[in-house]
Amino acid sequence: AAGVIQSPRHLIKEKRETATLKCYPIPRHDTVYWYQQGPGQDPQFLISFYEKMQSDKGSIPDRFSAQQFSDYHSELNMSSLELGDSALYFCASSLGFGTQETQYFGPGTRLLVL
């Protein structure tokens, strides 16, 4: 079965640079979530979209922005990168909105900021 696709899988950036992470949800899934997992930490919710509209916002820095496009894929844009942004970034998708739905996670993008 098709899974959530994330690209790139690995990314190395310098401080103050920008990065764009992409997420392609499971076909027909209309909801996308972004999570950040620091080294040895649990995943932290960043932001979510349902039907191309932002549905919830968590601990996402103002330097980050995201959107969901008409084909339901999502992009997380990160500017003025800091060393502390180094983490594993997960995208998850679900069919329908709300916490009664199972969220399926992608393999993650590992971002290293030097």
């Binding site: 649990d42 932290q44 919710f45 979510s48 549905s55 709300g98 009664q100 199972t102 996670f105 393999p107």
Partner: protein
């Protein structure tokens, strides 16, 4: 963690033994989900239990939920070396938002 704690933080057992991991949370929930993560890799969904359910089974997995104690447990029976991973519980706290709040995870090592 924002929501709660997992216990134990690390568990080491022999193949064939059972492994039990516990999760406590702070707020009311709609559901609780368990995920597995192999070292530095993606999160694999294991099981979802709704707030009106008390127990759920899936293969070698058994999950219980006690909303009065705000706690859940994950039991893996007849463990295998391939079960070695980190296990996270995640709570869905509201039907108005899909966000999950994760616990700190339990690292399970199953020795062959």
């Amino acid at each position: 963690s924002q929501q709660g704690e997992e216990d134990p933080q690390a568990l080491s057992i022999q193949e064939g033994e059972n492994a039990t991991m516990n999760c406590s949370y702070k707020t009311s929930i709609n559901n609780l989900q368990w995920y597995r993560q192999n070292s530095g890799r993606g999160l694999v969904h294991l099981i979802l239990i709704r707030s009106n359910e008390r127990e759920k089974h899936s293969g070698r997995l058994r999950v219980t939920l006690d909303t009065s104690k705000k706690s859940s447990s994950l039991l893996i029976t007849a463990s295998r070396a391939a079960d070695t991973a980190s296990y996270f519980c995640a709570t869905g706290i509201s039907s108005n938002t899909g966000k999950l709040i994760f616990g700190q995870g339990t690292t399970l090592q199953v020795k062959p």
